[in-house]
Structure formats: C-alpha cells, structure tokens
Amino acid sequence: MPILEHLWIILALPLAGAASNGLFGKNWSKTIINSVGIGSVSLAFLSVLEAIREFSLLPDGQVSFFKNYFNWMAAGSFKVDFALQMDHLTIVMLLVVTFVSLLVHIYSAGYMAHEEGYYRFFAYLNLFVFFMLTLVLAANIVLMFVGWEGVGLCSYLLIGFWFLKQSAINAGKKAFITTRIGDFGFTVGILLLFWTFGSVDFGTVFAKAANMPAESATQAGVLTWICLLLFAGAIGKSAQLPLYVWLPDAMEGPTPVSALIHAATMVTAGVYMVARMHALFSRAPIAMFVVAAVGAITAFYAATIGLVQTDIKKVLAYSTVSQLGYMFLGCGVGAYAAGIFHLMTHAFFKGLLFLAAGSVIHAMGGEQDMRNMGGLRKQIPVTYWTMFIATLAIAGIPGFAGFFSKDEILDAAGSGSDAHLTLWVLALAGAGLTSFYMFRLIFLTFFGKPRFDEHKVHVHESPRSMTVPLMILALLSIVGGWFAAPHLLGKTDHFEAFLHPVFATYGVPAGLEQRASLAGAAGEQGGIFATPAMELLHAVTGPPVVLAIIGLLVAWWFYVRRPDAPKKLAESVHGLYKLLLDKYYVDETYERVIIRPFLWISANVFWHVVDENVIDGTVNGVASVAREVGGQARELQSGNARSYATWVVVGAVGFTVLMLGVWGMVR
C-alpha cells in the first residue's frame, strides 16, 4: 500500500495507540497495553521503511516529496496547510526516531513493569512519538511548531510521571517553563519569517531565500534576526547555554524517558530545525557564528560540570548537553551533514548509555549514586559490555560510531571554510573531558570493590526485554558510523553524500559546497597527507583521538589505580571542585537574578497595583456607573400602568406621524 502518498498514516498510528491506551488502557492488562503501544510504534517503523522504499523509487531529479492534505487555517494571506514532506534529512530523522523509540518501548515494557499508571506511561510515549514525527515530517514551520510544542508537552508529562514526587513535579515545571522562554523567541521568529517571506511553507520560503544574497558578516539583516530567534527556540529545546538548566533536572523522569526524549530524539529537535532551516542560516553568517559559539562553549562547559557529578544519570545528562553542543558546532560551521550524522550516532550511543544506566539502576534497586556502586562488572556482564561499547563510542575511540561523527565535526570546525580556532580548541578540550568523565563513570560503576552492602542490595541482570535493546543499540553504536569510513581513505562520505541533495538544493554558498563532497577534500587541507594510508593514520592519530586516549588513561589512573587520588585532588583545588560540583551556581544565579525579582514584580506590581487597582477598578467603575444610570432611569418605572399606556400612545403617535407623514411625502 502506498504509504508515501499517505504519510499521515505514519502519524496516525502512534496517535491511535496513544488515544486507545490513554482512554481505555486503565482497565487493560499489561499485555494488551504492550501490544497496543509497541505494536503501534513498530507498525509506524515498518511504514516508515515502506515509505523510504517508495521514496527511493522517485525520479532522481526529485529531492523532496511534498503532499498537502487539507487546509488547516487561513486568515487573509496567512495560510497554513496540513502538509507533510519527505526528503533525505527527514528519512534520517524518521529512522532514528521510530527505531530508537521502538527499542525504548520494548525496554520500557520490562523497566516499567512494576509501575503504577503503566498505561499512562505508554500513552504518553506514543503521544510523544506522534508529535516528534509531526515535527519531523512537517512541511511548514507552523506545523513543525505544533510538533515542537507537542514534544515539549510530552516531555513535561513524562518528567512529572511520578507526580507524587515533588522534585519530579518541579522538574517538569522547570523544563516546561524554561523551554517556553526559548519558544517565545521561536514564535517571534515564525512571525518575522512570515512577515518577511509572506509564507510559512518551507518550499516557498527556501525558494525565496535562495534568491536573496548572503548577508554580510558585519551587520545583521532580517535573515540573521529570523535565524537568531529560531535558534533561541533551539537553545531552549536542545538545552544549550544559557537554557540548559532544565535537562539535568529532567532526569527525575523514568530512565527510558531520559533515553528517548532527553537523549535521542526531542533534544535533538533544535539541531534538526537548524539543519532544516539551513537555507536561511547559511545566508546569515552572524547567526552561524552564534550557533557555532554557543555549541562549542556549551560542549566544553557541560563537560566540565560532568567531571565531578556523582549521580550516574546526571553525568549522562551533562554529557548529552555537551554532545548537543557538538552538533550545533557542526551546523554552525556549515557542516550540517556532520551535525546530523553526530545526531544519529549520538542517538544510538547515548540512548544506549541511558538504557544501560537504567539497567544498572534497575540492578542496584534504584540506587543512582556512583559512589555507592562499583564492581558490578561481573554481576551484570551484558549491561557492562554494552555500556562499555557506548562509552568507547562517545569517547571517540576509532572504529566506533562516535569517532566518525565527532571527528567530522572537529574537522569542519578546525579546518573548514568557517573555521574558528578558539571554538576548535574548546571542542577538542571538551572531547578530552568527555572521554575522562565517561570512563570515570565506567570505572566507578563497574570496577573496583563494591561500595554497597551486598546483603541488602541483590544485584541481578535485567530481563531479556531490556537487554536485547541494549545489544541492538550496542551493535549500532559500533557500526553506526561506518557510512563515513571511506572518507578516511579519501573516498566519499556516504552519509554526507546521502544528505547532499538536501543541503545542495537551495544554492548553498561555495564554502560549504566543498565540504559537502569531501572527496579529496583532505588533499586541499594540507599536502602532507598525500596517500590514503597517511590520511587514515592522520585521522586515527589526530588530536581528538589522542585526547580521548589521554582522558581514558587519566580516568584509569584516578579511579582504578589510585582510588583515593580524587579526594586529594579535590581538596587541593577545593574551590574549583566546589564550583564544578555546584554547576557554577547557575541555578542559584537564575533564582536570584530572574525568578525572585519576577515573583516580586508579579506580586507587588501586577497583582497589588495593576490587578487590584487598574483592572478591578475599571470593572467596578463600570458596574457603579451602570448602577448610577439605572438608579436615575428607574424613576420612569413608576409602576403605574396608566403612565406606561400613555408612553405607548406617545410611541404610537410618533410612529404614525413619522410613517404616514413620510409615506404621504413619498406620495
């Protein structure tokens, strides 16, 4: 059946699942709920595959498939259709979203087995999938915004899933409100976009934008503003500086949620959006630089915080933030493909990391603090190995997925047309730190002596439904990057080539054009590495790899060889340690600088002054005026029917005189 013609089916499936589970699931057995939830997602995945097959059959000239289903709203020239589109970028996202969420669903079946509101959880998950797919498939920015907000909503619901836990509730609120701040920018961006191009359709907008000249790097034009505003939304959604604060707290939610929403899919929506909007971004150098800078700084900054965190999920959260930073850096320097590539690989290994962490927590009976773990290597081998693979991947050890993608980003940042040395350095440092804190996590968790009471905690391997997804993801974390492998031998990067048509469509400036096809790009970068072999050698012994190895060794030294060393170090540089441990006091600063004044103003100005005096005053004033007028007018109501009768006669006389008089005149 032609899925491509009916892309809406892909959306409808999870929505149906969500609806049925959410409405009727309360009285259903876990089996039914599972079959509905997982079934709908797997069907969605299959239909995505089918859609891709059909897409591949399209004539070569056609870059994207567009279909308009119905007119959603129309106000004057402002017209929004419910239209979906599909191109290579969408395909990547679709695959990642549906597949990862499928795995997470399966995983959740095991992980949440003993939870209250099981049906609720799956309904939310399905709903999330629906909105994420909407976001990805949307053919205009308004519809995209719908998905954008929808995933935000689901994130809120799922973070606060245990709504009896105050911390969970607060975390949910925090996530929602913080992203709102970004979304405000996003909304204004949309308005500006419409005001500029007179349309919200991607196709139209990009086509118009393609005819505009690239703006100068010195002063900002309208494109720059649009991009910056949209990017504000991305900052909120993808937890970049300065709005990243909600993501660590979001770890209050169930671990599968963290894996799916706060690592693999939702948080990458910002990156996707930037990549989708490349036609605008690549014409706004300032915006590009901002993106890159924010990305790089965040990457480094979050990594530093990650160094000292003790909660296993918090570490992963900060690492997510920093990895997202890498993706933005990639987009910022024009290597969209690299950004998306990293997005994909990151989805694999970070999802895996979270799931594995979840498995660890499961095994430890809810314990999240790494200081109370250790030596789990033997008890839960599957978790251990998969997690180790993921760590290798994220650390960028050659041969694993993360290596390729991160290498491309760094490469672009360091030697690209829009390269910035500082950013490159930051990113490199971040890479080193990443490798350090990830291995720190591994060592603390799985090596050394158990630091918990083994009689109390009964460590056990997770059920099959949890381990199988781990294995699958582990496999992907290894092979997921090999599209790009030939690149190291100076051949084409398949992934990039696959996405090339998308980024080539709207007359992208020359600098990126070269990047897009990397065949022989290395040759230009410096004559010294002439042969493929040298190229490969250079790649695998490049600075990132070196730093990664260093990080590994340092971590090993600190946490396996000399377990007491960290404490000493911490005491020696106590200030810095404290600073990092308290995450640079960002939350406290926000509390003081923004929230408290805001509350104060709301209470003392808007409530006691504006509301009580101005608004109430107006309303009461109107009321009292009406009362006065009525009090005067009621005198007419004498209660004496004869007076009323006389008034009626007055009316009759007036009417007859008027009508008949006029009539007579006409006559």
Binding site: R634, E635, S638, G639, N640, A641, R642, A645, T646, V649
Partner: protein, 102 residues
C-alpha cells in the same frame, strides 16, 4: 343604488380606534381598560373588512377571524388575571396595583 365609499368606513374605524386609545389611557377600571382594547380590535376589524371589500379579496376577512380569536384568548386570560388582582387587592383600580416598580 349608490354605495358608500370605503373611506367613510376607514375614517369611522380610525375614529373608533382613537376613542379606544383615549379610553385606554383615561379609564382606571381594569375591566374597562380591557374593554377599550376590545374596542380597538373591533375598529381594526372594521378597517380589515373595508379594505378586503375594496380590493375584492377575502384575506382581510380571514384575518378578522384571527383577530377575533386572539381577542377571545386575550379576554379569557386578561379577565382571569383581573380576578386574581381583585382577590389580592380588593380593588379594580389599576392605579392601586402599582407594586411592580423600582
């Protein structure tokens, strides 16, 4: 045999209507006021019939029927209300039934 022009009837009906209106505001007794209303209705009926004859159409007469029916209904309900008022206030003077005011 010469016949009376329509305008005679019309003027008569106008006069009757006017007298009805005057009685309507002049009388104090509720029953009489209802009668004044009946008088007005009758005047209107006369005009109806006169017009109907002048145009040589029957619709006017049909409307007279409806007017009569409505008058009957009005009288029935009105008089029932009058009885009510009398039971409550022991007076038929409309100016004494003046509680329904500000």
């Amino acid at each position: 045999m010469s016949v009376v022009p329509v305008s005679y009837y019309l003027v008569l009906s106008a006069v009757l209507f006017g007298l009805g209106v005057i009685a309507f505001v002049f009388k104090r007794n509720i029953i009489t006021i209802l009668m004044a209303i009946e008088l007005m209705l009758n005047a209107v009926n006369l005009a109806f019939v006169a017009f109907a004859r002048a145009w040589g159409q029957l619709d006017g007469l049909v409307f007279v029927f409806f007017v009569i029916v409505v008058a009957a209904a009005e009288a029935a309900v009105g008089l029932a209300i009058v009885i009510r008022i009398y039971h409550n206030r022991q007076s038929l003077n409309i100016e004494r039934a003046n509680l329904l005011k500000f």
